[in-house]
């Protein structure tokens, strides 16, 4: 479709830029606020700080333990992403390239998992992790995080592997590769675009995850992740808003950077997953 008329076009751009500014204003406000002093933050309506200082970052990083939370978040995210990519690639390969009895049932379950709310399973999940003795380790959080709905990823891998030509596999078999080696050395490397999509999407989801880390760190505050650690700025009588803005910036920047660098894969991946 084509939008004609120059005036309408300019008008549309004007509106899009105006709304776009409002759209990202909370982030601009937060980053600017992270350089303000606490009084400046509360009293002044001007989003631009009177003077720029890094005190809030020191306070967030050291006093509020964001250095520790940062490490926790990185470990949890990297491990979860690795597990999810491997599980989904294996499942997708089996579903996409092999005809076996029960395939439809498994596909049905994969789609059905999407509709299981976390609020439904969080209590037994907490109990399970507790019984396994894992509430005091990041491993428990990683396990619980890896259990989410991976419907989109499995379907992406399934349809991608299904479209690869049969000849590739046959050639690999001729060269003496078994099923497993064909997968790891021939087929999996071909699925790089899907792997990239899964890595980015799961990275962003896990990095931002809140319910599971909140629940599993109730008795172990030092295992908190960045998203959960924001509570540290809320005191009994007052909230350290400027420190919180610095903490929020520390938590959000890695995700924003990953997104902006990889957005082409990310956006195409989301779109591709829906088209299936």
């Amino acid at each position: 479709m084509i939008i004609s008329s120059k005036i309408i076009k300019y008008l549309i751009h004007f509106i899009l830029i105006f709304i776009g500014f409002i759209w990202i204003f909370p982030f601009i406000w937060m980053i600017l606020g992270s350089f303000k002093s606490n009084t400046d933050f509360i009293v002044s309506g001007n989003p631009i700080p009177e003077e720029f200082n890094w005190d809030n970052y020191t306070r967030a990083w050291v006093d509020a333990n964001f250095s520790g939370y940062f490490v926790n978040t990185v470990i949890m995210t990297v491990a979860t992403v690795a597990i999810v990519v491997l599980l989904c690639a294996l499942t997708g390969y089996a579903l996409g390239r092999v005809d076996f009895p029960g395939k439809k049932v498994i596909l049905g379950i994969v789609v059905g998992i999407m509709f299981i709310p976390k609020g439904y399973t969080i209590i037994p999940l907490y109990e399970l992790v507790d019984q396994l003795g894992l509430t005091n380790s990041l491993f428990g959080i990683i396990l619980a995080e890896s259990s989410g709905a991976h419907t989109l990823f499995v379907l992406l891998f399934t349809s991608y592997f299904a479209t690869l030509p049969k000849e590739m596999e046959e050639a690999a078999i001729m060269d003496g590769c078994g099923f497993v080696r064909t997968f790891f050395s021939v087929m999996l490397p071909l699925a790089k675009p899907i792997i990239a999509t899964t890595v980015i999407m799961q990275f962003i989801w896990t990095w931002s995850s809140f319910l599971v880390p909140t629940v599993l760190t109730i008795s172990k505050p030092e295992l908190r992740t960045l998203a959960v650690g924001m509570q540290n700025f809320v005191g009994q009588h007052s909230t350290d808003w400027a420190g919180m803005a610095a903490g929020a910036t520390i938590s959000l920047l890695p995700v924003l950077i990953v997104f902006i660098l990889m957005q082409r894969y990310f956006i195409e991946g989301v779109a591709g997953a829906v088209k299936q």
Binding site: L90, A94, F115, L128, L226, A227, A248, L256, I267, V270
Partner: protein, 313 residues
């Protein structure tokens, strides 16, 4: 390879065996971390249980009876449905308009706009809740701005009024997820063959005619997907509600997810006793409502697709 039939079926059986082995890890994760917890939610919901002592006090349906007699539970259900319906209606509609604009062939700066409008999607919801809590606080930027430009004489207590708090929750929730719906719509728009538009142009159809006769009808299948995803995410509002309004004022913005959390783990945060059995019953109800509502959408989608197929024939 195919000259010996026996050999082929042997390779086939071998492949099938490997397929099962490949699915096994995912299946174990599903059984242990999804299916088992679901079953246990039902089991816990029949006990009076604080989560710490042994699971011995079986009370049958008492948790459910209490749940049904508790206005706060019904309030949480209504809040969840209002939030789900509000974010779905606003989000699905607004993102469609945005996607149509950003899909126009001669539109400049598409990539730039897509990035801008997508940023809230990747940002951590829990942190957005905290930021919004400050922006809409009594001394927050919104009040200061309204007073500076003279639109308000006194600061508005956004988060102390249930209707305003609920409205803000829906608006912020919509803002957060609009970008993802926009991408879904764009993928649908891009799957429409361009020659349809070309022939419409040759026939002299204008923008609106093309929109209502070609674009929108062809978007129906993707509409169902977007609606379903939006409904499921709306039914599971936790991160934003917990950090933005925390259910206040007086539980009027408490969603079912938050209700479950407050009874199951809220005690752990405040030091009072937890009620895991009762919370499990609420969790089971949440699961059932989500299934019921997505089931209704599923049926509607099946019906629409059948109708579409009939029209195509």
């Amino acid at each position: 390879m195919a000259d010996k039939k026996g050999n082929l079926s042997k390779t086939n059986r071998n492949r099938q065996l490997w397929a099962y082995i490949f699915i096994l890890p995912q299946a174990i994760v599903f059984l242990v971390l999804s299916l088992y917890p679901i079953i246990m939610s039902y089991v816990y919901s029949f006990y009076s249980w604080d989560g710490a002592s042994p699971l011995t006090n079986f009370i049958g349906f008492e948790n459910y009876v209490e749940l049904f007699q508790t206005p706060r539970f019904w309030g949480a259900l209504v809040t969840t449905i209002i939030y789900m319906a509000g974010t779905t209606a606003l989000g699905v509609g607004a993102s469609l308009i945005l996607a149509i604009i950003l899909n126009a062939n001669n539109m400049k700066g598409k990539a730039f706009y897509r990035t801008i409008y997508f940023i809230p999607v990747v940002a951590t919801t829990a942190i957005i809740g905290v930021i919004m809590k400050n922006i809409f606080g009594i001394d927050g930027s919104v009040n200061q701005m309204l007073q500076t430009i003279g639109l308000a004489d006194q600061p508005i207590s956004w988060l102390n009024s249930s209707s305003l708090a609920m409205l803000l929750l829906i608006l912020v929730g919509t803002w957060k997820n609009l970008g993802i719906n926009m991408i879904y719509w764009l993928s649908g728009l891009q799957s429409i063959p361009t020659d349809l538009y070309e022939s419409a142009q040759l026939d002299g159809a204008g923008f609106w005619k093309t929109l209502f006769h070609i674009t929108l009808p062809l978007l129906k299948p993707i509409l169902i997907v977007i609606l379903l995803l939006s409904v499921v995410s709306g039914m599971n509002a936790f991160d934003l509600v917990k950090t933005f309004t925390n259910g206040n004022p007086y539980h009027t913005t408490e969603t079912l997810d938050l209700y479950v959390f407050n009874y199951a783990f809220g005690g752990g945060l405040t030091g009072s006793t937890t009620r895991m059995g009762y919370a499990s019953a609420a969790g089971v109800m949440l699961g059932m409502f989500t299934l019921l509502i997505s089931g209704i959408f599923g049926l509607i989608s099946m019906y629409t697709q059948r109708k579409l197929k009939k029209e195509a024939n």
